[in-house]
């Protein structure tokens, strides 16, 4: 079967649709999670959701919906503990994570279901996604994307500076819990794609990729959604292509590895941009002393001279052999001062 033929198979088409939407939605929520400096929150919710899935398997109901309920409960608890700001808050969260994972495996044992059924949720099984699950995933993804983009001014303000947002009259607690609930929902929709143990990677890594290049929140949000989409669909196609060679590569890990590869590809560009910005950061506006450059100047500094131009108050300095040269018109014509 060629790769193109593989895309005409219904289960692969379902997988592509799920990967497409989850790849956009998870990083959109992830941008707010990273902005709140809670990059590990997705991992925490993912661990707690394991118990939700296990309860679904045990009670023979839909693991998706039991996971939604338990993940939201876990996310709200995490947010409340964080808001209280207790010194032992991180220990409480760690215990919540362990309890969630251990509880899930334990309940799965009670149910008598094999570990392989739970493994579908731990590491993803996007190729076995049913039509019903796909519809739920599509609906939740669209809701998440609309909220993350539509409420971005409010969610940005609350995540950037909660004190200021409160004085601006915004319901800060409501929006904070909303972000936690969004995170829980994105964990659940992504668990079929990348699995509960890797779900946080799809929320965080695309943000880490684009924020090396961006200067504004808006570009970071949109860029992360694009990067997530490329990683998610790209990882799925990579896994499918490799499976034709006889390998048995799961899409979940390959999606995460494609995202991480993207990070390391972009990293040198980000490092160069950061260095460039540091170089052209304006010098403080003090009145400079006049120190004429002694040696005859071989050329005129300007846009095309190749030396780094840096704003300095009302004029421009050029970085020349580690010195700062500024053009100055004196009585005997133009010369350069050392600033």
């Amino acid at each position: 079967m060629s790769l193109l033929e593989l895309f005409s198979v219904p289960f692969m088409q379902r997988a592509l649709i799920a990967a497409f939407l989850v790849g956009i939605a998870a990083p959109a929520v992830g941008t707010y999670i990273v902005q709140r400096r809670l990059a590990l929150m997705g991992d925490g919710i993912g661990h707690v959701a394991v118990t939700g899935v296990a309860i679904g398997l045990w009670t023979q109901t839909s693991p998706t919906w039991t996971a939604v309920v338990v993940a939201i409960a876990g996310a709200v608890v995490i947010e409340v503990v964080r808001e209280r700001g207790h010194a032992e808050g991180d220990v409480a969260l760690a215990m919540l994570f362990y309890g969630g994972l251990a509880g899930g495996v334990f309940v799965t044992g009670l149910a008598g279901t094999g570990a392989s059924r739970l493994q579908e949720f731990l590491f993803g099984s996007i190729l076995t996604i049913s039509v019903d699950d796909l519809l739920v995933t599509m609906a939740l993804s669209v809701v998440l994307i609309l909220i993350c983009v539509g409420l971005s001014p409010q969610l940005f303000a609350v995540s950037q500076d909660p004190d200021y947002a409160k004085v601006a009259g915004l319901p800060v607690r409501f929006y904070s819990i909303l972000v936690a609930v969004l995170a829980a929902l994105s964990v659940v929709i992504a668990m079929r794609t990348v699995g509960l143990l890797l779900v946080s990677a799809l929320m965080v890594v695309p943000v880490a990729i684009v924020q090396q290049l961006t200067r504004s929140f808006r570009m970071t949000l949109l860029g992360a959604m694009g990067a997530g989409l490329v990683a998610s669909v790209g990882g799925l196609v990579l896994a499918a292509a490799l499976s034709r060679t006889g390998a048995n590569v799961q899409p979940g890990p390959s999606i995460v590895l494609v995202a991480l590869a993207g990070f390391f590809l972009v990293w040198p560009i980000g490092a160069w941009l950061r260095r460039r910005r540091a170089l052209v950061a304006p010098f403080p506006e003090t009145s400079p002393e006049e120190n004429p450059v002694d040696e005859a100047h071989p050329h005129h500094h300007g846009e095309k001279c190749g030396h780094v131009a840096v704003e300095h108050g009302d004029h421009v300095d050029y970085i020349h052999d580690g010195h700062r040269h500024a053009a100055h018109v004196g009585a005997e014509g133009e010369h350069y001062d050392e600033h």
Binding site: D161, V167, V207, R218
Partner: protein
């Protein structure tokens, strides 16, 4: 001019009225029996040593710290029934205002318009004009599309002030805007606040040292140990630190301890 419908003990045009305010943080009493009235158009400096309660007081005035006793009214309404937050601008201490994702100067200042915007609506041209004007006032218009992480401390401070100004507030409260800011930036800040004062804004500012802001101040309030120690005409920085507002007081059980004599400078103070 009194507004009908505001059943209140103070006229509606008194921006801040705090009566017998007590504040406890995590159960520890921090502010005790503070009375403070700020009249329209006044420029009040809250001063005092570290830990004197001046930052706690300004956070209380904007509703971030709940009162354990006493009553706070903003524009003639009790805090619980005050919803007109577009009339209030707040500039927090710089350290509290950072996120883990890049944000541009424009975006941070734009969040100052949220008190005027409806949900799910894009920025209107009036919002854009207010954002541009606020950036002009603090002299940061050329930096609108820079990332806030690239700014110096003083520039970041001016952006936070622009954010508060973008909402066109009548009452502006600033928490230590001059802390860690170099002299040129302090002068730019003083120029911006001077323009606001001329436009009739009411300003309450927490400061350790006034520096270039000193000529703007109408009234100084000095906090000591959670109580108001002085309320009156402006003092020089030297007066605030010299008139014993800084020194701790002596309890009965400390009576054995030597009482500091302000006339004899200790070597440490000389340093």
């Amino acid at each position: 001019m009194t507004r009908s419908g505001t059943r209140s003990t103070v006229p509606a045009d008194v921006p801040v009225q705090l009566a017998h305010g007590d504040v406890a943080l995590s159960g520890r009493p921090v502010l005790r029996g503070v009375d403070l009235t700020v009249n329209r158009g006044e420029f009040v400096a809250l001063m005092g040593a570290n830990g004197s309660g001046k930052s706690t007081l300004v956070r209380t005035l904007v509703g971030l710290n709940p009162l354990s006793a006493g009553r706070l009214e903003l524009f003639g309404r009790g805090l619980g029934s005050f919803h007109d937050w577009s009339r209030v601008g707040y500039v927090p201490q710089r350290s509290t205002a950072t996120g883990g994702v890049p944000a541009s100067v424009w975006e941070v200042v734009a969040s100052g318009r949220l008190t005027h915007r409806k949900l799910l609506r894009p920025l209107r041209s009036a919002d854009r004009a207010a954002i541009r004007a606020a950036l002009e006032v603090v002299g940061m218009a050329a930096y609108a599309h820079r990332g806030v992480a690239q700014l110096s401390g003083g520039q970041h401070q001016r952006v936070l002030i622009a954010r508060a100004l973008a909402g066109r507030p009548e009452l502006l409260l600033l928490d230590e805007p001059t802390a860690g800011v170099d002299l040129p930036n302090q002068q730019a800040l003083a120029a911006a606040l001077g323009r606001l004062k001329d436009d009739g804004a009411t300003i309450v500012l927490v400061a350790h040292e006034l520096g270039p802001l000193a000529p703007l101040i109408d009234r100084a309030v000095v906090m000591r140990d959670g109580r108001k120690a002085y309320d009156g005409p402006p003092l020089s920085d030297a007066d605030v630190h010299a008139q014993g507002f800084d020194a701790g007081h002596v309890h009965c059980d400390d009576a054995q301890a030597p009482v500091p004599n302000p006339a004899v400078p200790t070597p440490l103070k000389e340093l």
